[in-house]
Amino acid sequence: MKFKVNGHEVFASTGGRPFDKKKPLIIFVHGSGLTHMTWVLQTRYFAFHGYNSLAVDLPGHGLSSGKSLKSIEEMADWVSEVIDAVGHKKASLVGHSQGCLVTVECTSRYPNKIKTLSLMGGAGAIPMNPELLSLAENNDPKAVDLMMDWAHGPAGHFGGHPVPGLYHINTGTMLAKSRTIQNTLGVDFRACDNYKNGFEAAKKIKCPTLSILATDDKMCPVKEGKKLAALIDGSQVDIIDNCGHMMLLEEADRVLTVLKKFITTNYPPLSS
């Protein structure tokens, strides 16, 4: 569906179900240079099981208009405005990669609005390799190729996509190249690199929190994810073997099962 935040049109996938104000809200926030489509194997399930799934495209990404936001803090405020814009008071947040920085910051800024927080491949800080950052800022498609290489574990590299017929790396590559690289990936990478408040923000989080980490994640290694989780009171951690940073696609079923249990327990659906 489409709605406006700060005068700019925002696109969010509702997982194939019309938006229904009565149902509890889950907002999914994608990673650097990507779009709502990375969440397709989670959002449709929640949409069909008593929730409003809202997989947003950040400004300037995917099908959303406007310019990309330049800092994690701005993105965190923007997510909070999304909750207001769709007429809700509260939401559960699910973030992937850069989306984890955004949702951690958002939860610490608006503790009363956020019911649960789920982090996929998250870390307290995501410092960028300077060369990769420079490639992305110079609009070099190699930045996407490098990111896709590092972001995928064995499943992504060899294949074995949970949806028959789909091939991981090329799908991710086309997604990341669907808009101008320097305006999406370039801005996002710089925002990640600049963001230093992750660990401090984590200490303020009081809502139920889940971290899903993967052993072959080269972008946000398990060690970093655990460091972040340790700062959040009562945080749950789930670690997936033989899987890379794109766990929400590489091990979509496993992620869904864990996420489902966590969210339905802490933020029950509207029973039909």
């Binding site: 996938s13 997982g15 194939g16 179900r17 019309p18 779009t35 489509m37 397709v40 194997l41 449709r44 399930y45 949409a47 069909f48 995917g62 099908l63 390799n129 060369e131 990769l132 490639l135 190699k142 190729d145 490098l146 896709m148 290489d149 064995p154 499943a155 590299h157 060899f158 294949g159 074995g160 996509h161 949970p162 949806v163 028959p164 017929g165 789909l166 091939y167 790396i169 090329n170 799908t171 590559t173 086309m174 997604l175 190249k177 669907s178 033989n242 979509a252 079923d253 869904l256």
Partner: protein, 443 residues
Amino acid sequence: MSDKKKELKPNTYKFDTLSLHAGYQPHKNAGSRQVPIYQTTSYLFDDVDHAAALFNLERGGHIYSRISNPTVGVLEERVASLEGGTAALATSSGMSAIFLTVMTLCEAGDHLVVSSQLYGGTVNLFRLTLPKFGIKCTFVKPRDTEGFKKAIQKNTKGIFGELVGNPGNEIMNMPEIAKIAHDAGIPLMVDATYQTPYLCKPFEHGADIVIHSLTKWMAGHGSSMAGILVEGGKFDWMQNDKFPTMIKPYEGYHGLSFAEEFGPTAFTMKARAEGMRDFGPCLSPQNAWNVLQGIETLSVRMKKHCSNAEEMVKYLSNHESVAWVSHPSAPNHPDAELANKLLPNGKGSMIAFGIKGGKDAGVAFINNVKLASHLANVGDTRTLVIHPASGTHSQMDEATLKFAGLSHDMIRLSVGIEDIDDIKNDFEIGFRAARKPRLVSNQ
């Protein structure tokens, strides 16, 4: 970091590696190194919730082997990876891959612009069968790049062609025709059966959908029928209102918008969820496995196919019984420059040549070669010959025959991977018989 000085380079797997590994992980299949053949129709659901989730496309997985099968799935991913595509859908023949592609794109009242130099079966589909279901086509000669532009109408939904035309070896200017298609907001579909991704990856030259008859060089051994459609993932289905069924909520799937939900894989998802579900031309797991086996040797076979073909072009060009030879490797080929650009790894193994003495000589040649097989196929590991005017294209009336660029003296040769001297020796027998046709034509 110690290796900071080293240039960053993506370490994604290369073509030869992908042709052996892509789409499959042994640890998820009882450790079996080779892909298992899942000869099953159906798949157990964990519970009612799981079943419903699969049917609603809420999660990935298999329901029924008409729609998807794990063995077929490996093949689909492998071909997608080799082509550099995002997704693929395998079908029970190359023709059904073309048919499903058209059905996913078009409905009654729509129009396609189609290259006129096509496999005879494809010509029949576009010229005679699709119009019965309200889909009309305008044919354009492959070298007439501007002609593709002129033929585009308001209701045109795509451009379709074979990269190297059959049987005249005319090459369409894929990069320019792709630009024409994209300027008009429609996709370019390329049948790259004769090239395989080893010789050409059409997505790198602007194609949006690539179609293969896997029966041919991809499988290689002439044992199994199979087809596939592969999606490039670049085409934006939402840029205009030409593709409402890709964008608008689909009534057959609880209001699913394929373009919104699946983006770079939307076309394949729709082809499977609608076309394969309803029309049902599914590939059998056995055949998928045979094709996978074939793809493992694609690179080594294609090298030999191409080097044998180039040898044969030299041999035929200098032969007293041969009037003309057509192959993109021949220096006098009108598209030689384009061929070097689009087919840097080899020019394929399809040769057309004219035999001196016309139709009778052609018949005598075909009926007397011993090693080369006379049959209606191409891309076998074995050398194949046919005389189109009396075989594959015999269903065409005179006008269509001429339109397809055929002549009575033309012999079509699909060069195999036998020893090159054995092929040449066999041809000598054929040519000898062709020089005195009356003595042998009654055999």
